[in-house]
Every structure is written in C-alpha cells, then in structure tokens.
C-alpha cells in the first residue's frame, strides 16, 4: 500500500489490505499491523491472532495460490481492535474446529492457530461457509 493512502486511512482508523497468498507476504504483513496498533498487551495478542487467521486463509483457504488474495478490513478505535479476513477458498467447518478442546501440548505439529485466536480474542467467528473470519479484541491497557 502507498504510504499516502495508509496515512489517510490512519485518520479514520479504518484500513483495507489485499495480500497475495505467499508466505513471505503474510509474514511481512505482521510488522505492518504491529506498527498500526496502539502499544498494549491486547494489541500484541490481537496482532498474533490476526497473523494466525491470515496465515490460515492463505494456506488452507487460498491453498497458497499467489493470485488468490486475502482481503483484510481492520478497524482501530480507542477501545477496541476489529478485523475481517476473507479468502477465496471454499471455507471449512470452523465450528467443529472450535469445539476441540484447547490443548497446546497435543501431538499435531499444526492446528493451534485457531485455538490460540479463540483464546486471545473477545469475539471470534466465521461466516457460515468458513471463508470470512471476524475478530474483535477490547483494548485493555
């Protein structure tokens, strides 16, 4: 995104991003988000959760097909941080995944991102299809 555009979005607290489904693009984006958020523990946790959901959208939703985009709407207010993350995949049974018990020491090398997001955010859910996620975290300084 052009700096000028980012600066004008800062005034409204509403941001729009479109990312290519590439691992490096997703990981670099974490630093962009981190700079926009206010300095608080809530922001750290929200940034972590958002990264997990964007990584899932690129990898499982868009199957790492670079031309498929992950579209992010971010809203920062003085009290809360909210994001919507949409991918171009078919979606998944997110409710089933969220029903699984939070067990960090489980055998799988993968699959902790969604559970960590659920634990870290005040609100976290997907649309019915499972290709658009909503995250909300109240800022607690």
């Amino acid at each position: 995104m052009e700096n000028k555009e980012l600066e004008s979005q800062k005034k409204t607290g509403k941001f729009h991003f479109e990312l290519e489904s590439r691992k490096k693009a997703v990981c670099r984006f974490q630093a962009v988000i981190y700079k926009l958020l206010p300095n608080s523990i809530s922001s750290d946790i929200f940034a972590m959760a958002l990264h997990e959901i964007i990584a899932n959208a690129a990898e499982h939703g868009n199957q790492m097909e670079a031309d498929k985009k992950v579209i992010i709407e971010l809203k920062i207010t003085k009290d809360s941080l909210a994001a919507e993350v949409k991918d171009q995949g078919r979606g998944f049974d997110w409710q089933k995944r969220l029903r699984q018990e939070f067990d960090i020491s489980g055998d799988s090398e993968r699959g902790r991102g969604i559970m960590m997001t659920a634990r870290g955010c005040d609100e976290f859910y997907y649309n019915q299809a499972g290709n658009k996620a909503y995250l909300l975290k109240t800022i607690d300084f």
Binding site: K24, M48, H51, E52, A55, I104, E109, G111, M116, R119
Partner: protein
C-alpha cells in the same frame, strides 16, 4: 532463518535463533532441531534473546521436538525470552506447563 549453535558438551547444546520464527521459515528450525536430535543431545537449550516473534507454526515445531526429546529422556529448555510479544503469547497459552522456560 539465521541461528547460532553452541555445543556445550556431548550432552548439551544451545541454539540461538535470530528474528522471527514464523510459517515462512519454521521449517528451517525444524530441520536444525532434527539434526541435533540425530546427534543424541539430551539437553537442548533454545536461547530466545534474539527472537522477536513466533507464531503457531514455529510453536508447533518446538512442541514436536519437545515430545521427541522427552521420549528418549531428553529435555528442551527455552531461555532468555526478551520480547514482550513472545512473553504474552507464552503466558496466554500456558506454555510453561509443557516446556521449561527459564529466565
């Protein structure tokens, strides 16, 4: 992902990764850890003083390695976590109940 390896003795080794451990490079860390696993070190210390962030992909590699080491009576220790971001994350998921985290 850049990392330094310091062999203490035939039983112990210290690895010091640098920067972010995320899903673009966590496979490098996994390869590094598996290489050490094959050399039969019993105590593997991960020095986090130069790690800025880690995501669930990186965490998955650590937990997998922790499990493999434990199965052959070894131990994984995370030491010197400097980043507040990482401290908050480890606290949120209670990682200290699974892996030893030293100051």
């Amino acid at each position: 992902m850049e990392s330094k390896t310091d062999v203490i003795n035939s039983e112990q080794v210290v690895i010091s990764p640098v920067g972010n451990i995320d899903f673009s490079n966590s496979q490098d860390l996994k390869d590094k850890l598996l290489e050490l696993f094959k050399k039969d070190y019993k105590k593997v210390i991960l020095d986090f003083s130069e790690v800025e962030s880690i995501d669930s992909s990186g965490l998955g590699k650590l937990l997998l390695f922790h499990k493999k080491l434990k199965e052959k009576e070894g131990k994984l220790i995370i030491r010197n976590v400097e980043s507040d971001y990482i401290k908050n994350m480890f606290e949120m998921i209670h990682l200290n109940k699974v892996i030893t985290i030293e100051e």
